[in-house]
Structure formats: structure tokens, C-alpha cells
């Protein structure tokens, strides 16, 4: 009797685990750059270094302008998956730089539309948005 109960629990557990979202599903964000930017793909570690202020120049030597979002699903997903931080840890990271005189946080915009406009208007810009909001004014990078 006890063995049957154990079996039932194992089956329920296996069903639960296999039905859980695996994290390999389609990302909730897309990294975008200006249409004129020759870069078409980028490693995730490079994206991370750019958004943490470690890498500040494009391959042609021009400066990178980073646009963060303040909140939202794309923001949370991007920060957790690419930067490996919680949104609050990211906020603290940049405040530490700001108040210790060692750096200044990137621009923070309100929503996807603001990021698309900023990236479309700035040849050196990079940002992230929800994939369903990508339009022809910006270019999505392939992440490796």
C-alpha cells in the first residue's frame, strides 16, 4: 500500500517537473541596435559586459549608448537571463557606481516604444524590448 502511494507521488512529481517551463523557451526579450549598425550577432557575455558598463565601444571604436528599461516583463527577463542579476541587484550595481564616483547609470526608459525610438535615432545605441514589438526601424541581434 505504502509502495503504491510512493509510486503515485513519484509519477505526480515527474509529471509536475516535465510540465514546468524549462527556461529554454523563446526569450521574453530581444536585443536591438540601430539599423545602420553593422553588428548582426553578439555573444551573451558581450551583451552582459555592455549593459554592466565593462565594454563601452563598438568594434569600429565609436561609443556605445545603453538603454535600460525601468520595469516590465522584458526588463526582468533580460536582467535575470543575460545579466544574471535581479532587477534590484542591477539597480544597486549602478547606484554603487553612481554614488562612489566610478560611473554613471545608463539611460532608463519607460517602455518598449521609448527604447525603439531611442535606438532608431542613435547609431551607437543598444537596448532590449519584448520580441513582439520589434519593427522595421531597428535591428534585432542574434544572441550566441
Amino acid at each position: 500500500m505504502a509502495i503504491n502511494k510512493l509510486k503515485r507521488h513519484i509519477i505526480i512529481f515527474v509529471m509536475f517537473v516535465t510540465l514546468m517551463p524549462t527556461g529554454t523557451a523563446i526569450a521574453d526579450f530581444a536585443v536591438i541596435v540601430n539599423k545602420d549598425n553593422p553588428v548582426v550577432s553578439m555573444g551573451k557575455s558581450d551583451v552582459k559586459n555592455i549593459f554592466l558598463g565593462k565594454k563601452t565601444f563598438w568594434p569600429d571604436g565609436s561609443g556605445i549608448d545603453v538603454y535600460l528599461q525601468r520595469a516590465g516583463k522584458a526588463h526582468r527577463s533580460f536582467v535575470l537571463e543575460i545579466l544574471r542579476k535581479s532587477p534590484q541587484q542591477l539597480s544597486m550595481y549602478w547606484k554603487q557606481a553612481l554614488f562612489s564616483g566610478t560611473g554613471i547609470p545608463p539611460n532608463q526608459l519607460q517602455d518598449d516604444q521609448s527604447v525603439i525610438k531611442a535606438v532608431a535615432d542613435n547609431a551607437g545605441a543598444i537596448g532590449y524590448i519584448a520580441p513582439e514589438h520589434i519593427d522595421t526601424t531597428v535591428k534585432a541581434l542574434e544572441l550566441k
Binding site: K54, G63, R84, K85, Q89, W94, Q96, Q108
Partner: protein
């Protein structure tokens, strides 16, 4: 820099009240100029010993107010300034000082230059030590971030170079190196420590009273390396600091001299930070070589270490636990040197176990509460307790902070 505290605080309050939804970059003016700041106020109460001011009776002398401005000239040049008013017991008294002021030229990612008054990279957290909301607990671990040494370790007027190297699949390496001079305040823990030492020697030798005390730092220099391996969330650090300070005074009407060479302050650091929890461990050694009135003080080489664990119960609620240990002499953990001089042996160590809670009410507003149980009275505790120090004592702190 003689702005009155009242004007400064009023200015901050008006700035904050002007904004409806404060954000980190609440006062960005165009793409070039930004204005930020923070305010914090705490309450500290202890039993057994005073800990920074008259904490035995409960003290509100624990606060920081800062106003920060940055002007971005272009992608490579930034001018920045932070004014800071702080109070911690007898130190600070809310006089407004320049905390840091830099011209920062970021030539390449691997090389940048900061000139002006720069914050010193010691351990993982020294550069952010005055900003309450960056810390999980109210005080940074005192074994390494001793508040009595703050004025010596926090910032120097001079310059620094910095940068980072990408190591391919091996992660990346950040470095900083600096050289400069420290502007000592007479109420700083460092100056108080030497004054206390000189007064004791003078009393033993019947030399008379000590007056006209003046401090002059000759130099500080050092640097840090921070390695982030490919494994996310892990980083290793090593930092080095050294410096020399001279002190002039009059004792019994005659001129007296003292010096303090803070040699070979080394901090080794490890931090592992996941989105919902973090553990940090740091170890340090420090040699204080003091001379006063012709007497060489055998300070020895101190030793400190701590481990701190932070766990996010929710996004808004963080629990922290700290075990922090300091020995005044790494070769004398039992304090026998003090006992031989007729002093309590527990001046030779300080072991602090603390538990704290941090409530992130909003992104801008936080509240902290914590309690610490301490064994030992090292780290200059006698200065605040002329009546004598107790071995076992406690303190608790409440603090709230706002930033914009």
C-alpha cells in the same frame, strides 16, 4: 565648503518634494547633466559599551546626506562631484565636505584616468561605504571597514587609473590603482586614536597636557584587482593599501611629534551573488606602525575576516547574518600583550555576530533593523569608553534611507 547643514538639507528636501515619481535619474537635465542624492537617518543603542558616541543612552548621531552631480561631456569624459554631510558619534557632525570630485577620462575600456578626490578601492565595498542603501546591514563589517579608520581609507586627493581586461573564455579582470593625500579631520577616528595614545604616554611620563593637535597625511597609495570568472555571479578580489601620516602637537608647552604608518593593508575577497541570495567572505591583515614622543608602539599586524549571508525572503525583504572577527595582533589571539600591560586581554579581539532585516519599501526607500552580539573590545573601543570597557556587549541599530 561652509554651506550650513540647514541650507543643504532644505535644498535636498525641496529637490525631493519637487518630483512626483522619483527615479534613479530623477534630475537628468538634457543628456549631459544629472543630479542625484541620498539621505539616511538611524538610531543606535548599545549595552555594555559605547559604540560611536553615547550609544549607551541611545543616539541619533548616525546619518548621511549626499548630493551628487555628474556632467557628461562626451562618451569618454565625465566630471562629477559628491557633497556629503554625515554624523557618526563624535565624527562628522554634519559638516558638509567634498566626498569625491573627479574628472574621469575613459580612454579605452582597459585604461581610464580619474583626477581629483577619488574613492579608494579597498575590499569589495569600501568605495560605497558611505551609502547606506548599498549595504545589506547598517555598518559594513568592522574587521575590515573599521569606521575609526574611515578618514584614512575612504578617499584621497590625487588620481587613479582603472580599466578592465577581457580574458576570452576566462572571464574578465578589473583593476584600479591610486596615489594621493588624505585630508584628515581632527574629529576623525584616526586622529582621535593618536591623540588618545599621546595623552596616555604623556600621562605616564608626567609630560603635561596635550594641545594644538594637527594631522598631516604624507601619502596613501595602493590598488585592487577584481577577477570575475566565467561562472556567473562569482568574483574574487585582492587589494593593497599603504600610507603615512605625521602628527604635530604641544605637550606641556613643548613641541611633540608622532607618526602613523599604515603598512601593507591587504584584503582578499570572495563574493557569490545569485538573484535571491548572496554570500561574501573577506580576509585582511594590516600593520599599524605608530611612533609617539619617541616611543615605538608595538602594534603588530592585525587580522580580520568576516562571512556575510544575505537571503531575499521576497524581493522587498532581505535577511542578513554576519560573523565578523578581528584580532589586534594576529600572533596574539588571546590578548596576552594587553594582559601583560595590566589591561583587559579582550582588548585584543572583537567577535561580532549580527542578524538584520532590510525592507526595500520602494526602489528609493529602505528600512533596516539589526542586532549584534559582540565579544571583545578591540578597534579603539576605549576611546568611547573612558570609564572602562566590558567584554560582552550588544548593540542594535534602526536606519532608514532614501535615494533619488
Amino acid at each position: 565648503m561652509k554651506l550650513s547643514r540647514g541650507i543643504f538639507c532644505t535644498f535636498l528636501f525641496v529637490l525631493i518634494s519637487l518630483q512626483e515619481t522619483p527615479t534613479c535619474l530623477a534630475f537628468q537635465i538634457g543628456n549631459h547633466l544629472s543630479l542625484n542624492g541620498y539621505l539616511s537617518q538611524g538610531y543606535i543603542e548599545s549595552s555594555g559599551n559605547n559604540f560611536f558616541g553615547d550609544s549607551l543612552d541611545g543616539s541619533f548621531e548616525i546619518n548621511e546626506f549626499a548630493l551628487t552631480t555628474n556632467y557628461i561631456a562626451n562618451n569618454q569624459l565625465r566630471l562629477g562631484l559628491q557633497l556629503l554631510s554625515r554624523d557618526l558619534g563624535e565624527e562628522g557632525n554634519n559638516e558638509i565636505l567634498i566626498d569625491w570630485a573627479v574628472a574621469d577620462y575613459h580612454w579605452q575600456d582597459w585604461l581610464g584616468l580619474r583626477l581629483g578626490k577619488v574613492k579608494l578601492p579597498i575590499g569589495l565595498y569600501n568605495q560605497g561605504r558611505d551609502t547606506d542603501f548599498l549595504r545589506p546591514m547598517v555598518f559594513l563589517p568592522q574587521s575590515i571597514y573599521d569606521e575609526n579608520k574611515r578618514s584614512l581609507l575612504v578617499a584621497a586627493t590625487g588620481g587613479s587609473i582603472y580599466g578592465n581586461f577581457f580574458l576570452g573564455n576566462g572571464g574578465y579582470l578589473d583593476y584600479q590603482a591610486y596615489y594621493g593625500k588624505v585630508d584628515f579631520r581632527e574629529d576623525s577616528g584616526q586622529a582621535q586614536g593618536i591623540r588618545y595614545l599621546v595623552s596616555n604616554i604623556s600621562r605616564m611620563k608626567n609630560l603635561g597636557s596635550v594641545s594644538d593637535f594637527d594631522s598631516e597625511n604624507r601619502y596613501v597609495c595602493g590598488g585592487s584587482l577584481l577577477y570575475s570568472p566565467p561562472l556567473d555571479a562569482l568574483r574574487f578580489g585582492v587589494s593593497y593599501f599603504t600610507g603615512k601620516t605625521d602628527f604635530d602637537f604641544r605637550v606641556g608647552g613643548r613641541k611633540g611629534e608622532a607618526s602613523g604608518t599604515n603598512k601593507d593593508f591587504i584584503v582578499l575577497s570572495v563574493e557569490y551573488a545569485q538573484p535571491d541570495w548572496k554570500i561574501a567572505f573577506e580576509y585582511s591583515e594590516f600593520t599599524g606602525d605608530r611612533k609617539a614622543l619617541g616611543i615605538d608602539i608595538p602594534d603588530g599586524r592585525s587580522q580580520g575576516a568576516y562571512v556575510q549571508l544575505c537571503y531575499h525572503l521576497y524581493d522587498e525583504l532581505v535577511l542578513s547574518a554576519l560573523y565578523d572577527i578581528f584580532y589586534a595582533d594576529k600572533n596574539d589571539h588571546s590578548g596576552s600583550k594587553y594582559a601583560d600591560q595590566g589591561q583587559p586581554d579582550y582588548l585584543g579581539w572583537r567577535k561580532d555576530f549580527g542578524l538584520g532585516i532590510r525592507w526595500n519599501i520602494t526602489n528609493q526607500l529602505i528600512f533596516k533593523a539589526e542586532h549584534h552580539w559582540v565579544d571583545g573590545a578591540s578597534l579603539q573601543l576605549p576611546i568611547f569608553n573612558p570609564q572602562g570597557v566590558e567584554e560582552h556587549w550588544n548593540y542594535f541599530v534602526l536606519k532608514t534611507s532614501f535615494n533619488f
